[in-house]
Amino acid sequence: MENILSVLIFFPLVAAMLGFVVKKDSIRVYGITVAAIEFLLTLWLWFSFDTANGGFQFIEFVPLISDFGINYYLGVDGISLFIIVMAALMTLLGIVALGENIKDLKNMIITLLFLEVAMIGVFVSLDAIIFYLFWEFSLVPMLYIIGAWGGEKRLYAAIKFFIYTFAGSLIMLVGMLYIAYVYQSVAGVWSFSLTDWYALVLPISVQKWLFWAFFLGFAIKVPMFPFHTWLPYAHGQAPTVGSVILAAVLLKMGTYGFVRFSLPLFPDASVAYILPVAVIAIIMIIYTAMVAYAQKDMKQVIAYSSISHMGVIMLGVFAMNPEGITGSVFFMLSHGLVSGALFLLVGVIYDRRHTKMMSEFGGLASVMPKYAVIFGIILMASVGLPLTMGFVGEYLSLAGFFKVSPVLTLLGGFSIILGAVYMLSLYKKSFFGPVTKEENKKLHDLTGRELAALVPLVAIVIWLGIYPKPVLVPIDNSVKALVAFMDQKAQTPEAKRIIHVSRSTKEAK
Amino acid sequence: MIGLSHYLILSAILFSIGLVGVIRRRNLLMLFFATEIMLNAANIAFAALSSYMHDLSGQMFAFFIIAVAASEVAVGLGLLILLYKKYGSLDLDDYTMLRG
């Protein structure tokens, strides 16, 4: 399959279109089948991926508007490969976990398939315009999911989500157009191909402006402090599946953007702005961890904890060495799986009690032991316990950033303390203590459908915690190539000093 | 000696008269006249510049404008008559259906 990437994009698209004519009572099976096939296709992509090769693979190139250098240009490397696999997996599990009592199941499944198209499109695009198209397109299904299936304030939340992220990405679009303009004035032809842009050495002053233009687009998506306030509303109002996908995949688009665009395009500016970015990241880590601790609503705790963890990912991205960047990419995956699982778990209890307030619970461990066990494992992964997936990414991200600034890493390391504080207090309030509320005494434990969605996640979280190598090595190869490229391209002595190429890369030369 | 600037000044004066008419007048018919004056102001400027620069395209534009203005008046007047028949007035202040 030469054009597996196109298949990955168009298969769910076609399936979603066909979904309109599928009968209502067979739509669940249809949706699960389509998502499962898509997931298997991504697995196939992984197995036929050459892990030793750090560059782009499965490249497809079809000229669209040649005069302006806009092409249908796709490809994956180790950095994007696993995010694609994760996106397909989370869509599948999200559809599996859809409750019986959800209204308009058909529309929901079709929307999710459209969303999958957009998510996979973002991570396989190597052309800025195609990337931007998918990037913006991903907003629409999510807007619909929040707006149609959300809670009481769903319209406010949906519109805030849409306009906020949209405003940010428009500024990014201006940045993209400007790079294309610079490229045109240097090379004489228009091009929006990322690989062409990589070759472009921009003057430092231009890099600095462009860095902030892209920063706004990505930072709102991540979301970085102080652009994060849309996220609690979106999570608070979105249905379970919406939160799962939002936390697992959509947020990763922001951090992925930093790795894919900001670092290789503006190496000098990225190095120059390590300090402000790291300070924002640390504010995210500490401040949102505190806000998470103050929450009364389980889902909001997890929403804020997402922001806090994204702060650690940001530190890893700006570590400028393979350890940190590999760690941050791995952390994107682990955070995707773990926070996705946490949102699924909150959805479980919400389905039963129609409330997410911690004060409504207490003693759930005695009533729902299986639920408590799975929640406990995922919680430990979220807190970053060794031998779960959460540790590897958090450890590597912090270890990488330590090279840049030990003091800031110490502050960022508060993540492991404060994470334990809010997560354990959530667990204590909801699961420990006596069962105080009468209606909690008769709650039934996890059903088969819920287990089917959760057990794979638990298995992966533990498997990749014990043996992360199959995932780490391909990521690492691509990241090493990226860092070596940045080092080569860097102009300022400061950037040359801070960008740290691994020994193995140096020896290879 | 009458030079280019005289024509242009005449054109500007005519245009200003038309503009004031457009702004001040309330009657739609008067508005029409005012726009015609403005169009003709432009025509004068075109013709004068055309002769000054020895380039016929200016005069060509002037003819175009005359033709367009004529057809416009034909259509416009028809519409006006319809409007008058329907609402019994040509006063602009009576037509505020598009208020925001």
Partner: protein
């Protein structure tokens, strides 16, 4: 030999997973039996490894790669050398005893299977901790024992929170969270230490790090030493991170015996011993460790003097003994620290298990003021606890005598007379509070009768299970010379100066004198009957001691509460009132601008024409300005 390493390591894990399979079912006897057997297998393998290390030498095994990124390569590597072999044997021996004991102790608990699953998982984590050949592997075990400790302290999670005046630990789940979070604070220090090692040495392997120690600058070594020690402080509950240990007594008593006395809390001491090539290079940090250990020794002992809670007294004594170990390690007498660690593991586990018997007999009553005279019904338990207390007090010829006395000699030898004096004084206090506990529980008047308890001795097999510990608490010290010869193959030998050699007998006599003195005082005060003095109990020093120097309350007032309030402010005031309000404010400005300018849309054509004319005029003016500038 690698097979033996893996058997020793994975047998407890297999047991844990096996028990976990039945974790949600009611008690099934064989989960207890199977896990105990697997633990025994692990013990046998450890003992064989000990013999192998003794006769042949260290064993190294590498399972597979764990984290590979950039230049970092961390495998699951295991080394069994002299120190590890000793630790493994101690850990698996005590664990086996505790497992068998728990079969009886947890007999009627509905979480029986779950308990064994956690307990075996703990042993696995502890073995990972001591067997790893690199710092990150140690960190796996380090966090693993932390989680198991969290699970086991909070084992009776269904109990509600109560006020501090009713139960100083509030509730099992509260104590569990406290322990976990306190440990996490220290773990951050340790993690920073690991980062420092990685970026300065390029490897986390012990051997490579120790080989690189001479090349590193002194300042860097000091920093690494401090950071690693911060980690050790958390796990070994050193001041100021000590409060969790006493609260951890909320867990079932076998847990206290295994985790919070014999094994996990000694992990910090193990780390310092393991990193001795580092700490030998930085005497100032080592001296600080010794001073802190000494301080904790007397600090904890003072709190034990007045406490009425059976388990808390033993917990404070554990804390105090950990102080001794750190003092020894800090003074450079690493093998002595390890020796005391092993001896302490035996007699302290025994003491805790004995306390468990008492609790069992007394329906989980912990107040020793409500006991007394239990000797008649619990002769065996009395003997065990008496032996353990004699060992703890350091009476010849019990195990504690040899180890503790050597620590005092080392302190004297280093001419740290201050440290020596404080430790000497603590030895007296230790003897006093240990026997205060024994006398108030087993001798004196039978106060329990007025509270309506019907104590009874525990099952025979439980008592037999405790026998190995009882035996070791007596005879372990006799092997001091052999032990020293064995572990100093790896650890630096510690030579006493000639001056000390001359003084040894005097030192021993002085130490024995204060220990026996302590016992005698306890005997006079408590052996006949409980004498309470209202005036003393109301006095300020007494209240300070019984409230643990008000440190838990201080922590709550100074850290926990302000953090919660600050969090609330961060959410309600900053996040909602400032950050989000700004965003909404921007949106509102745009909306209101739109709303305001809507009035331009009058619907009147001539108004539109005016706007158009104005716009055209502005554009014309702009065009003219631009044209003039060119």
């Amino acid at each position: 030999m690698e097979t033996l390493v893996y058997i020793a390591l994975f047998a407890p894990l297999v047991g844990s997973l096996f028990a976990a399979l039945f974790g949600m079912r009611p008690k099934t006897l064989w989960t207890g039996v199977v896990t105990s057997l697997l633990l025994f297998v692990s013990f046998l393998a450890s003992a064989m490894l000990l013999k192998h290390v003794y006769t042949v030498g260290a064993v190294h095994a590498e399972l597979m790669d764990w984290i590979v990124a950039g230049d970092m390569r961390v495998p699951f590597g295991f080394t069994v050398d002299e120190v590890t072999a000793v630790m493994m044997t101690v850990v698996t021996l005590v664990s086996t005893v505790v497992h068998i004991y728990s079969n009886g102790y947890m007999e009627h608990d509905k979480g029986f299977n779950r308990f064994f699953s956690y307990l075996s998982a703990f042993v696995f984590s502890m073995l990972v901790l001591v067997m790893s050949d690199n710092f990150l592997g140690l960190f796996i075990g380090w966090e693993g024992v932390g989680v198991c400790s969290w699970l086991l302290i909070g084992f009776w999670y269904h109990k509600p929170d109560v006020g501090r005046d009713v139960n100083p630990s509030i509730s099992p789940s509260w104590a569990a969270n406290e322990a976990f979070i306190m440990n996490r604070i220290a773990d951050l220090g340790m993690l920073i230490g690991i980062f420092l090692i990685y970026w300065n040495v390029g490897s986390l392997n012990y051997q490579e790090f120790f080989a690189a120690v001479p090349q590193l600058s002194h300042g860097m070594l000091v920093l690494i030493g401090i950071m690693l020690f911060i980690g050790a402080m958390g796990k070994s509950a050193q001041f100021p991170l000590h409060t969790w240990l006493a609260d951890a007594m909320e867990g079932p008593t076998p847990v206290s015996a295994l985790i919070h006395a014999a094994t996990m809390v000694t992990a910090g001491v193990y780390l310092v011993i393991r990193a001795h090539p580092l700490y030998s290079e930085i005497p100032e940090v080592s001296y600080f460790i010794a001073v802190l250990g000494t301080f904790v020794a007397i600090f904890a002992a003072s709190m034990a003097l007045v406490n009425r809670d059976l388990k808390r007294i033993i917990a404070y004594s554990t804390l105090s003994q950990l102080g001794y170990m750190f003092a020894a390690a800090g003074l450079g007498a690493y093998w002595v620290a390890l020796f005391h660690l092993a001896a302490h593991a035996f007699f302290k586990a025994l003491l805790f298990l004995g306390a468990g018997n008492v609790m069992h007999a007394m329906n989980d009553e912990l107040d020793i003021f409500k006991m007394g005279g239990l000797k008649k019904v619990m002769r065996w338990t009395y003997t065990y606890m008496g032996v353990a207390s004699l060992a703890l007090a350091g009476i010849w010829p019990f195990a504690g005598f040899y180890s503790k006395d050597t620590i005092l000699e080392a302190a004297f030898n280093e001419q740290s007379y201050g440290i020596w004096f404080v430790l000497w004084l603590t030895a007296g206090l230790t003897a006093f509070y240990s026997f205060r506990l024994v006398f108030l529980t087993f001798l004196s008047d039978e106060r329990y009768k007025q509270y309506g308890f019907h104590p009874h001795e525990v099952q025979k097999y439980v008592l037999w299970a405790m026998f190995p510990l009882g035996l070791l608490a007596v005879i372990f010290g006799w092997w001091k010379e052999e032990f020293m010869a064995f572990v100093t193959r790896l650890l630096p030998a510690y030579e006493m100066s000639e001056h000390t050699e001359h003084m040894v007998w005097i030192l021993i006599i002085v130490t024995m004198a204060i220990a026996i003195g302590g016992i005698v005082v306890a005997y006079i005060m408590y052996a006949k009957r409980l004498r309470r003095n209202e005036r003393i109990e109301q006095s300020l020093p007494y209240r300070i001691l019984s409230n643990q120097y008000y440190i838990p309350i201080f922590y709550e007032k100074a850290f926990a509460k302000p953090y919660a309030e600050l969090s609330d402010i961060a959410w309600k005031e900053i996040d909602q009132q400032v950050v989000d309000a700004t965003v909404d404010g921007i949106a509102r400005v745009i909306e209101e601008t739109g709303d305001g300018t809507r009035r331009m849309q009058t619907g009147n054509l001539s108004d539109y024409l005016k706007w158009m004319a104005a716009g055209a005029l502005i554009l014309a003016v702009l065009a003219i300005i631009v044209a003039m500038n060119h």
